[in-house]
């Protein structure tokens, strides 16, 4: 039954291509997917959500949908919320509504399809499906030197996907099945040298898709250039595919291999947090800052995965790592989508995203400032908002199992270093907020209009999600049990 979550946006996109009114169709599809998706996410344990159709007997291939575990349901909840917000916010350029809404729906359909696939083949395939409209949207409707940027991400993500495919096919060969549920049930351990090679392919493949340092340089320009709904859906939802894959497949199936690469992984994720953190501070435009910050925050989720790998290797159950990664993926997805949506609004009402040309926007547009403030605070990890619960659990998971007085493990050193990332987030978020909304009004902002009620809706939806999860993170954590 969960196939319906994929089918609604997918069929709506096709309907739009063949002439159905674009905006209305997209919004109806977005809202209905939101309702059904949330219901499905909170009742994921029910057998009624899983279904499977055989598409090929030898080698056995099924088009199978369902929830692998609670993490899948959290990702579905994230996808449907961001999808609804994306189709409700933003404004399609004149004459391009069809492309704009159909692409948004297709990206979301691909992401949802990947998160509810229980067959490895379609898990991979749906993610690829979502990439094509992303390229099209950036290449056609993006800002700045959009063609070069679209070409760059095509090459980066294309190559990353191929490496990933190699790893996944190899993994499937070792497990002897494409069925992810059966793969996870397997008790026989894969040979250790093989594990190491598979893990390397998966880390590079999934890592490129999640912008793991040093394969991250496609991400920030792409998000800065992408139209609002594309940035929201890609940075918020689709990018999590890589982390989701590492968490669901790489860690349980090739734990020894992952552990072999633990130290390099820790160095790379510190590259995400510290290196990209510094780069983010230096950004001169809001879109550039958001793009880089989204790269930087991936580091924390990698840290949770690293902690999980380390405790698995030590033979202990880390109770924080999976909830930390899942909640932070959700929180980051919501907050970055909200920021990209509002940045689009800032650009439409002031005509610029350059920090040097902005200032005092809070006076003409107090509601916009308030909403942007909430999203910004969430992103820097203010207690009470969702990101805080995620980040705290990440740090707890990093230190889990440490006895007082013992030597620091690599994961713990990385955790201590990455704490500085929180400071950096505070610096760049507050700096952007101050330069945009505070101080005297300038030319571009003096005549700006505030965000109209209808456009507040998506931001309010996202803010509500941030608050609910921030105040009561168990609403998500309970889904994991």
């Amino acid at each position: 039954m969960s196939s319906i979550l994929f089918l609604i946006p997918f069929l709506a996109a096709i309907a739009i291509i063949f002439g159905s009114p674009a905006r209305l169709t997209a919004r109806v599809a977005g809202v209905s997917t939101l309702v059904i998706g949330l219901y499905a996410a909170f009742t994921w344990q029910c057998d009624c959500w899983s279904s499977s159709i055989s598409v090929l007997r030898t080698p056995s291939l099924d088009l199978a949908f369902g929830f692998l575990n609670g993490t899948s349901s959290i990702m579905v909840a994230l996808s449907v919320i961001v999808l609804a917000a994306a189709v409700l916010s933003g404004k399609a350029p004149e004459g391009r509504e069809k492309l704009y809404y159909a692409s948004s729906l297709l990206i979301a359909a691909g992401a949802i399809g990947a998160f509810i696939s229980t067959n490895l083949f379609f898990f991979y395939a749906f993610h690829e499906l979502a990439l094509i409209p992303t390229f099209l949207m950036i290449g056609l409707l993006g800002r700045g030197s959009r063609k070069e940027i679209a070409w760059k991400i095509t090459v980066y993500l294309g190559v990353g996907s191929l490496i990933l495919l190699a790893g996944l096919v190899w993994l499937a060969r070792e497990c002897g099945t494409f069925n992810m549920i059966e793969m996870l049930k397997q008790t026989q351990e894969i040979d250790h040298t093989t594990q190491k090679s598979i893990a390397a392919l998966l880390i590079i493949g999934f890592g490129t898709l999640v912008s793991l340092f040093p394969f991250h340089s496609w991400a920030a320009p792409a998000y800065a250039s992408a139209p609002a709904p594309t940035a929201m859906l890609h940075a918020g939802v689709l990018k999590k595919f890589g982390l989701y894959g590492l968490l669901q497949l790489a860690v349980p199936l090739v734990p020894v291999g992952m552990n072999a690469w633990l130290t390099p992984l820790l160095v790379l994720l510190l590259g995400n947090i510290l290196w990209v953190g510094f780069v983010t501070i230096n950004q001169k435009r809001i879109d550039g800052m958001l793009g880089h910050s989204s790269v930087m925050h991936m580091g924390y989720i990698f840290l949770a995965i690293a902690a999980l790998i380390a405790s698995k290797h030590a033979g202990v159950e880390n109770p924080y790592a999976i909830p930390a990664a899942s909640v932070l993926m959700f929180a980051h997805g919501i907050s970055i989508a909200m920021l990209f949506g509002l940045a689009d609004r800032i650009e439409r009402c002031t005509g610029t995203l350059d920090l040097a040309d902005l200032g005092g926007l809070a006076k003409p547009a107090p509601r916009l400032a308030f909403l942007f403030g909430i999203a910004g605070m969430a992103s820097l990890g203010l207690p009470g908002l969702a990101n805080f619960s995620g980040e705290v659990m990440v740090f707890l998971s990093g230190f889990f199992g440490r006895s007082a007085g013992g030597a620091l493990e690599p994961v713990q050193i990385a955790t201590i270093l990455s704490l500085w990332g929180v400071v950096m987030s505070a610096v760049y978020v507050l700096r952007v907020f101050r330069k945009t909304f505070q101080g005297p009004t300038v030319n571009s902002t003096v005549n700006a209009t505030d965000i109209p009620l209808l456009e507040q809706l998506p931001a309010l939806l996202l803010a509500a999600a941030l608050l609910v999860v921030g105040l009561y993170p168990n609403i998500l954590v309970n889904l994991l049990h």
């Binding site: 030898t58 088009l63 749906f126 490496i163």
Partner: protein, 493 residues
């Protein structure tokens, strides 16, 4: 119905249309093409009813004919006959659409005088491919391959007032003759070494200790070179871009799909006797080298192309590389996927998507007068539905998941990995990545470039043409998700 009726019917259809064409004066010769399409569709339906000599036909007179010593009808033969017929039907549709250009360069102004034979020749070439699919004797294989090649000499040079077409014709003639030479000479050496032309006898002889190894291997190498010419394997590929570019587009489509499928079928049935003989290691490692070279040259050669037809020519070399890799993997099918099955699946998917790409090429050639990729500039604005179809087709050629093209490549990779050919796998992965680059170049022109002001025709499509293109595009998507129907056709391979 005995299977050999199929070819007899096809040839009869071709000759009847040729005769009718000569005796019925008509300004428009379109009906010959349409009649050919209908006739081939009927024969296609009969293919599913045809049987060879098996238990059910015991006692029937025809089951005892000596013909069955050289002619077989098994799952593979049926499948490749279907491929040949389906290809020919689509090529005839293309030819009907292309007739204005064909007429312009082959007859007088305003008449379609010279176009009638074109349709009949396509049908006769189809019969040749169907015979090849049933060959179990090297002499029979050679004769049917020659019928195919000679027909193609005419089809390539058909536009007699177009220098490009003539040049292509001469090139194809010279290189075709060269490859024929290799083939005959190779067959002679094999006959000398094994004492038989019958593939079953050769299988026995190849496994025999007493067979002289060097002459046999020499003969096999020569035949492989000759068939390499036909399928476009590097380094025997160099005729492909020029001939494909110069030939009339329907001929190019037929060459690149039908003739290639027939060539691969011949290669598979020729190599089958040697797959487990003592020389298998040598023969198949030569094939691996061939596959790697073809992958590299096809894919990297395609990158700088800006003529769409030439791009498709290199794409056909690149795809030949993947197919060769599947053959070189030499899987006998204990895991459900034999090399022959993978090649069959790949060729079926290649038929669907390459044919669709030729439909797009045909329409831009006919309506904008150019084969270049920039003739597609701004297609998204000029004809959005055609642009969506082109996107699906190019994505499938590049191997994007959920399209049939991905599955073909996927199976090839799986087979190569199962045979632990790691270096070829890495080369194939790089080749596939390069594929993304050049196929997406076409998409870039369609979606990102502004329409070219001087020839921004909106591209009207005729109804039969849009019907065929729609069928192909939907097939790409449906078979991309639901592969069982295609696999059912391949049962027993």
């Amino acid at each position: 119905m005995p299977a050999y009726y199929l070819e007899a019917l096809t040839v009869t259809l071709g000759i009847l249309l040729l005769v009718a064409e000569a005796f019925v004066p008509s300004k428009s010769k379109t009906w010959i093409g349409l009649a050919g399409i209908v006739g081939l569709l009927l024969i296609l339906a009969l293919t599913f009813r045809a049987i060879g000599p098996d238990n059910t036909s015991e006692g029937k007179a025809w089951a005892k004919y000596a013909l069955w010593d050289i002619y077989k009808f098994d799952a593979a033969a049926r499948f490749y006959k279907i491929i040949a017929l389906v290809t020919a039907v689509f090529v005839l549709i293309l030819a009907v659409d292309y007739r204005s250009i064909l007429a312009k360069f082959s007859g007088d102004k305003g008449s379609e005088e010279g176009t009638g034979e074109y349709y009949s020749l396509i049908i006769i070439a189809t019969a040749a491919m169907m015979w090849m699919a049933s060959a179990k004797n090297l002499a029979f294989l050679f004769v049917s391959l020659e019928l195919l090649t000679v027909t193609f000499y005419i089809l390539v040079a058909f536009m007699k007032r177009n220098v490009g077409s003539l040049e292509a014709g001469v090139k194809y003639l010279i290189l075709g003759a060269l490859s024929t030479g290799f083939l005959v000479y190779g067959i002679a050496w094999i006959y000398g070494a094994t004492g038989s032309l019958d593939l079953a006898q050769i299988t026995l002889a190849a496994g025999d200790e007493g067979t002289p190894g060097t002459p046999l291997l020499f003969g096999v190498a020569l035949v492989m070179i000759a068939l390499g010419f036909k399928v476009g394997a590097a380094p025997m590929h160099f005729w492909i871009p020029d001939v494909y570019q110069g030939a009339p587009t329907p001929t190019t489509a037929f060459l690149s799909i039908g003739s290639k499928a027939a060539g691969f079928m011949a290669l598979i049935s020729f190599l089958a006797p040697f797959s487990h003989c003592p020389y298998a290691g040598k023969i198949f490692s030569a094939l691996v080298i061939l596959a790697c070279l073809t992958l590299i040259i096809g894919n990297f050669g395609a990158i700088p192309q800006n003529n769409f037809k030439r791009l498709l020519a290199y794409s056909s070399i690149a795809n030949a590389g993947f197919i060769l890799l599947a053959i070189a993997a030499n899987r006998s099918g204990e895991d459900g996927l034999s090399s022959a099955k993978i090649v069959g699946f790949y060729l079926a998917s290649y038929l669907i998507m390459t044919m669709a790409a030729f439909f797009i090429l045909n329409i831009i050639r006919v309506q904008s007068g150019s084969d270049n990729i920039d003739a597609l500039d701004g297609l998204a604005k000029r004809n959005p539905i055609l642009a969506v179809a082109a996107t699906v087709i190019m994505a499938s050629l590049a191997g994007v998941p959920l399209t049939v093209g991905f599955l073909g490549k996927f199976f090839v990779f799986q087979a190569a990995m199962a045979s632990q050919m790691w270096i070829p796998v890495i080369i194939a992965a790089i080749a596939a990545a390069a594929g993304f680059y050049y196929y997406f170049k076409v998409l870039r022109a369609i979606w990102w470039n502004a329409p070219n002001h001087k020839d921004s025709v909106p591209f009207d499509t005729t109804s039969i043409f849009s019907f065929a293109l729609t069928v192909l595009t939907i097939a790409i998507l449906v078979f991309g998700v639901w592969q069982q129907p295609l696999m059912n056709l391949l049962k027993g391979l």
